[in-house]
């Protein structure tokens, strides 16, 4: 799943940075502190952009390369913020065999950014998710929490149109 470098400008505040640095200072000497630090950073900023990973690298002394390796290894970390409109397409087994891959591709083509990333204006983000427990409706897409079931690629533009206004 591509988790590409974000195109959205970083809008972190000094308060967020201070909070992160305080947390790092408290925990950095403990063994295995990297994961909790990354989780805390994501909690504070909502995602882990390069600027935030550089702060973590500088404060902990762990090379940025290692931080980035961990952030891209685990699905729980995001390199992109969520858009004003969050689109998720389920790629769980049931949805996938019913053709959700094509639905996702249609979403990507319609919105113009890759799964796991965000449009440069910050309006839309696309995620490919694991099973969301609505297999009876497969394939499933959600937009801002609203569930759309029995999707076909043809339905995608119609649904997304209402979020584009």
């Amino acid at each position: 799943m591509p988790n590409t470098k974000t195109k959205v400008a970083f809008k972190g505040t000094p308060e967020q940075e201070a909070e992160l640095k305080k947390f790092i200072a408290e925990i950095k000497h403990e063994k295995g502190a990297t994961m909790p630090i990354l989780q805390k950073a994501q909690e504070i900023y909502g995602y882990l952009p390069e600027e935030v990973q550089v702060i973590i690298a500088e404060e902990t002394g762990i090379p940025l390369t290692e931080i980035y390796g961990i952030a891209t290894f685990y699905a729980q970390f995001a390199l992109n913020p969520k858009g004003e409109t969050q689109i998720s397409v389920c790629l769980g087994t049931a949805c996938y065999v019913k053709g959700s891959g094509d639905v996702l591709q249609k979403v990507v083509d319609t919105i113009g950014c890759e799964a796991g990333s965000i449009t440069s204006d910050g309006k839309f983000s696309i995620d490919a998710t694991r099973c969301i427990g609505a297999c009876g409706l497969a394939p499933v897409m959600t937009v801002n929490g609203e569930v759309y079931g029995r999707m076909t690629p043809a339905m995608v533009p119609e649904i997304l149109k209402q979020y584009m206004e």
Binding site: V54, P63, L64, Y68, F73, L79
Partner: protein, 589 residues
């Protein structure tokens, strides 16, 4: 030491307890194939090429990490192991872009060699023919093509553990796993120091140096250019390996003959540039000691180290000697002193150097390295490997070459210049001159053996003219980092520190001939190649830079005295703090 008795393919051997199956096999004279294993820094059992049958284990074990036990019988050559290794090779090759005929590592590729040895005729999996190049070429020295990467992680290991630069890592997971830099930035955007150690350990053609031989061929073919070449001390200690000589053979004479046959108009030695560096650097040290200048003074010959300092330890920039590296001094002298002597317009002189180093490709275009009429001091630099390639292309039968001597105009050098290629060599060369300058007396013993050898950090102190001179030597950036942090914490004080970018110094530079893992893991390249230089030094009639007839002539006729105005113009440079995250900084600006 506790010893353990095992049998390897029926051969009894006794090895220290805690040894691995791979080490036991080596002791028995048996080679087990490896792709990922690097002694001490990359024992990760990842590539599965070394799988071997041993008694007491249920399945095959990874020989590089599996410890031996008393009475163990190891069978490296069972059908089961052969089949597993061949299947592994097929799987690796299923995702490897095979362009062996045009690959820079053809005939010197560990993967190609193993595929041949194991008789891999076809790859049943995937569609390797459809793979496209994935090129990263944002630096002056390196090209990465991930379509040839086997994910062995040797490059990561050297970058992280030996160099502590850690700009190469693995990102993402599963089939998407790939080697790269944070946020998939180019190496030029992340604080790489261009040392090239990653290239030297890559088992395939995924990492290669930028090939600059075409620039040299073009200059040689241009009748308006006067093309001169200079060779670094360490090149002669390793070039022979490219032509089947034993590791540690000094091939200086043949190298000179080959360069002459390639058509260079002047065949000179950067050893003379090294002597010049000592004249200036020893003078700078004496001045700093006498006049309360910034101490410890730290050497500046290694462009990888200089860049490391600028990026990671900018607080030590005032400590860096302002002397240019021997290569840059050589270039500046070619375009000034030599141009004048030979009566050639400096802009018609094309200066080439052959270096054990990839960072030199970066250094030649640093600001402040163009001292004559804004002309670059050096026009092109090639590695030892590229020089070997040129010699082969020219059809020169290296082993049949006679031993020849450098051209006298800038080819006369001392033993001090020779040892510049090994860790501790610059220190020793500088001490030979500085001590005599401070005491005004002739040294009784020229060998400063305390600073020799491959240890990562070496310290010594000498009683000179009523004062205790404390020195330290480090090679490899992880060792340099440790030493500098000690100095920062105030745990150690020195007058003079020598730092070389690559572990063991230039003899083990990133541009030296590539030795495969099964040689590197069991032969100390640093020590073997350094021996060639120390032996040459010991046999030289003149072993102190300040006694070199060429140096005496150059200063008398041209430069005046060390540290003179002209010397400063030509032979000294400047440094600046640089970002560790240049890519991100550039985007912000």
């Amino acid at each position: 030491m506790d010893m353990v008795n095992v049998k390897v393919n029926g051969i009894p051997v006794s090895v220290p307890a805690g040894s691995t199956v791979l080490e036991a096999a080596n002791a028995a004279g048996v080679d087990i194939p490896t792709l990922c294993y690097m002694k001490e820094i990359n024992a990760i059992g990842a590539c599965r090429m070394c799988v071997t049958e041993v008694t007491g284990a249920r399945g095959l074990v990874a020989a590089c990490v599996y410890p031996v036990a008393e009475g163990m019988e190891i069978n490296t050559n069972s059908k089961k192991a052969y089949d597993a290794r061949k299947r592994t090779l097929e799987l690796i090759l299923s995702n490897h872009r095979m362009e062996c005929t045009t690959c820079a590592r053809s005939h010197n590729c560990e993967l190609q060699k193993l595929a041949n040895e194991y008789g891999v005729k076809e790859v049943r999996f995937g569609d390797p023919g459809s793979l496209q190049p994935q090129i990263e070429c944002s630096t002056a020295h390196l090209i990465r093509d991930n379509s040839k990467c086997v994910l062995c992680r040797r490059c990561m290991a050297v970058c992280n553990h030996l160099q502590s630069v850690a700009v190469i890592g693995a990102s993402e997971r599963g089939f998407a796993t790939h080697i790269g830099s944070p946020f998939d930035r180019g190496l030029g955007e992340v604080g790489c120091i261009s040392c090239g150690q990653c290239i030297a350990v890559c088992p395939t053609g995924a990492l290669t140096e930028v090939d600059d031989t075409d620039k040299v061929w073009a200059a040689l073919a241009d009748p308006t250019k006067h093309v001169v070449v200079g060779t670094a001390p360490a090149v002669r200690a390793a070039l022979g390996e490219e032509f089947g000589e034993k590791i540690g053979t000094n091939v200086e004479g043949k190298m000179v003959a080959a360069l002459r046959r390639l058509g260079f108009d002047g065949v000179f030695d950067v050893n003379a540039g090294a002597d010049l560096t000592i004249m200036e650097e020893a003078n700078e040290l004496v001045e700093r000691v006498k006049n309360g200048g910034v101490l410890p003074m730290i050497t500046s010959c290694s462009p990888g180290w200089v860049r490391f300092c600028e990026q990671y330890f900018p607080e030590f920039i005032p400590n860096l000697s302002t002397c240019k590296s021997p290569q840059q001094m050589f270039g500046a002298m070619m375009k000034s002193y030599y141009a004048k002597q030979a009566g050639i317009d400096p802009k018609d002189i094309f200066v080439v150097t052959a270096m054990p180093c990839t960072a030199k490709k970066y250094e030649i275009r640093r600001p402040d390295e163009a001292s004559v009429d804004g002309l670059w001091d050096i026009d092109a630099t090639i590695t030892t490997r590229e020089l070997a390639k040129m010699i082969r292309k020219a059809g020169i039968k290296f082993e049949r070459l006679p031993d020849e001597k450098f051209d006298p105009a800038f080819g006369d050098f001392t033993g001090a210049g020779v040892i510049f290629g090994a860790t501790g060599g610059v220190m020793e060369a500088a001490l030979r001159t500085a001590v005599e300058t401070l005491t005004g007396e002739e040294l009784k013993k020229l060998d400063f053996t305390e600073v020799r050898g491959v240890a990562g950090i070496k310290e010594a102190s000498y009683e000179v003219a009523g004062m205790t001179v404390k020195v330290a030597v480090a090679s490899g950036m992880a060792n340099a980092k440790e030493l500098l942090e000690r100095v920062k914490r105030g745990e150690a004080t020195y007058h003079f520190i020598e730092i070389m970018g690559c572990p063991g110094g230039c003899v083990n530079g990133g541009g030296q001939p590539i030795q495969p893992g099964n040689v590197r893991n069991f032969v100390d390249l640093r020590a073997e190649r350094a021996k060639a230089l120390y032996a040459q030094d010991a046999a030289m009639p003149i072993r102190k830079s300040h006694e070199s007839p060429l140096m005496k002539k150059v200063y008398a006729e041209y430069l005046g005295k060390p540290g003179s105005h002209l010397a400063h113009e030509l032979l000294h440079t400047s440094y600046a703090k640089r970002s560790r995250y240049p890519g991100l900084e550039a985007e912000k600006a």
